[in-house]
Amino acid sequence: MVSTLRLARALSVLGYVQGQSFAHRLDPLTKIVMLLSLCVLAVLARSLNLMLAGLGLALLLLWRSNVGLSRSLARLRFLIWLVGFLFLVQVLFNRSGRPLLGFDLRVWGVGMDFMVTSGGLASGVRMASRLLLILVSSLFFVTTTEPSRLAYSLMSHGVAYRYGFMLVLALRFIPVFQLEASTVRKAQLARGLRIDAPGPRTLVRLARYTFMPLIVSALGRISTISISMEGRGFGSSRKRTFLRQSRFGMSDWVVSLASLGTLVGALLLVR
């Protein structure tokens, strides 16, 4: 039971949240265009307002897709903390621009003077917004795109099915290996392998004792899956049909063109 639940959870870690919103119904290719547009905007935009507008749009898209905005953002908790840390580094150590605030931080005589400047603050906000824009738009993509639909969409849009199934198999087995890694860790604990003295030697031992069982298991699975695929004629014919029909409809065209148009317009006019 726990294994099945853990597997289901591991799959959900990949991000997809079931739903019927407009964003869910769009072809995955359309969402790739949207994602790329927002990421290009994040990289090329110099205007802070433009970047913040992009971030607002990404958050709006995420909110309108009914995937649970706060719960989805909570998944990025670690990355958001990292962005916060990088923001602080910029604010505290970038001394360009006008001084805004100065303070002396010392503990037991050890520490240094800090100076918050307008340039440091602007640089921190810009960098944080850029990273957040990339993170939130990626989150929008993964929470609204069923992984296997993405693979089938790519195949029906011309990606060779042999490559498409590499993606399907990766999606299929990444959670399985996550689950196996957790079981291996439990087996190590059960046999008394302790990691309460972390150091390079312990880490090397831990990696060795983790990777060895995982690699052996992976090799076994490769043999099984190749028999399973070959036994059902995979790769026997150049032409392959698909049960799933990926339809790039009118709404996909409109959204894709609007995304590209908005990107080009924003960069030309406001950049």
Partner: protein, 472 residues
């Protein structure tokens, strides 16, 4: 090494044919040869396999999909896609079938495999029995003449195994020839039309249906004498519950484990048996209730590990070292056992396990049965008080089962306890002092085997009764 020698079998169209034999007798090799996955290109092979006049090894493998299909031992590992419909469609898509025809064929295959209710489900949510049905549906969608199944019930609970037998009987009535490789065959006896026994790579006997029925019928059981375990429990589980992702996996389970007893832990797939072992081992934390030692204390896993030895389901997940000898020494070293003592215990343990001549072999090259014995030995070598064995006999022949249980019984006679997760009622009746039966996350019944089976019979859980059971 000769894996098979002079094997000749003639299996009639539409038959349900069983192939049984001990571990390492060549059953899986034969299954792969029958289905065209092993042939002269992989080793020396003489003789030939023909299906309906077609030479299997003279035909490219991809052209055999409509002639013979193989369902492998682990159904979960053979799933290529993430959804039931996609999985059943996979072979049809490879053959370039039109979508409308494909949809009809998928419905037919799911219906024939008794899996029509699974349409549209995500693969990750399926139980072992459901995965097995989807694996069968994905093969028979291609309408092969022969379906070969390699140990299809090894990890199924008895209800799923009996339902699978019904499905296979139905498929044979549709004209598909079924070849089943198995250790346990009682569930197949009533539908099988023939059985061959493999021994050391040779067919040692072939049986007809009346003989198979007769062999699978056990004489009426006599009520066995039970050992009396120590009065004071060495561990007490008090109303423990465990929930995962909002679903109750175990609910208010209480159990006392006494020194000197073997407890069989039984129940459907997904009833919480493995979770219970992980909780006892301290690898999961109960959301309610407690697991206590006689001194009333709760211990962390780091301390528990020395006293409780756990053998997990998959042997490969718990082999860490590069030689058999190093593997046996892994636990003692972690627990700081003196080198000389560890060395002497390891060599005598390897002798007891029958692995004395494999000391320097890489453990991953051992057979499944040998790996299982190594897993048990790697835990037994540091003499814990309680042994937790999670389905240790999957894929094991009776000889290996007896060997492992002899090691356990010797420990139990010295005061240790052993808890074994098993679906095998015959084993539970024969080898366990007590049975704890879980159903829908709750403890349905616990007690001495005879009483538990009598209770299960009354409760309509007839799937779980031992062969030869005639009632209390």
């Amino acid at each position: 090494m000769l894996a098979l020698r002079d094997v000749s079998l003639r299996i009639a169209d539409g038959a349900v044919f069983l192939i049984i034999g001990e571990s390492g007798s060549g059953k899986t090799t034969l299954a792969r040869i029958l289905s065209g996955f092993l042939g002269p290109e992989y080793g020396e092979m003489t003789g030939r396999v023909t299906i309906d006049g077609t030479d299997v090894h003279g035909t490219p493998r991809q052209d055999l999909a409509n002639l013979v299909g193989l369902v492998q031992q682990d159904p979960e590992s053979q799933m290529v896609t993430l959804n039931v419909d996609d999985e059943v469609a996979f072979g049809l898509e490879n053959q370039g079938m039109e979508r409308s025809e494909m949809t009809n064929r998928i419905s037919w295959a799911l219906r024939a495999a008794g899996a029509e209710d699974l349409a549209g489900r995500s693969i990750s949510t399926l139980s072992g029995g459901e995965l097995q049905k989807v694996a069968i549906a994905s093969i028979i969608a291609l309408k092969p003449k022969v379906l070969v199944l390699d140990e299809p019930t090894s990890s199924l609970d008895p209800p799923s195994a009996w339902k699978l037998a019904e499905v296979l009987g139905e498929l044979s009535s549709k004209g598909i020839t079924i070849v089943v490789i198995e250790h346990r065959y009682s569930w197949m006896a009533r539908i099988s039309t023939g059985m061959a026994v493999l021994s050391k790579g040779q067919v040692s006997a072939v049986y007809s249906p009346p003989m198979i029925e007769q062999m699978s019928r056990k004489p009426a059981l006599a009520k066995p004498q039970m050992a009396t375990p120590a009065a004071k429990p060495i561990m007490s589980l008090d109303r423990i519950s465990f929930a995962y992702e909002g679903r109750m996996v175990l609910s208010e389970v209480s159990l006392n484990i006494h020194g000197g007893e073997v407890i069989g832990l039984m129940g459907d797939n997904g009833s919480g048996k493995s979770t219970l072992l992980l909780l006892i081992m301290g690898l999961l934390k109960p959301c309610a209730g407690s697991i206590r030692f006689p001194d009333g204390k709760v211990r962390p896993t780091s301390l528990l590990a020395r006293q409780v030895g756990m053998v997990f389901q998959n042997p490969n997940h718990q082999i860490f070292e590069s030689t058999v000898n190093e593997e046996i020494l892994f636990g003692p070293r972690n627990f700081g056992m003196p080198r000389e003592e560890a060395g002497s215990r390891a060599s005598s343990m390897l002798e007891v396990l029958g692995l004395g001549d494999r000391c320097d072999s890489p453990p991953h090259l051992l057979s499944l049965g040998e790996k299982r014995r190594l897993n048990v030995g790697s835990v037994t070598v540091y003499d814990p008080n309680l042994y937790l064995l999670d389905e240790p006999f999957v894929g094991q022949d009776p000889g290996n089962v007896e060997r492992i249980m002899a090691i356990m019984r010797e420990r139990v006679n010295r005061g240790a306890s052993c808890m074994v997760v098993t679906h095998d009622a015959d084993f539970a009746l024969r080898s366990c002092d007590r049975i704890a039966f879980l159903k829908d996350a709750r403890m349905l019944v616990q007690g001495v085997p005879w009483e538990v089976f009598s209770f299960l019979q009354k409760e309509g859980e007839g799937w779980y009764l031992p062969s030869g059971w005639r009632g209390p």
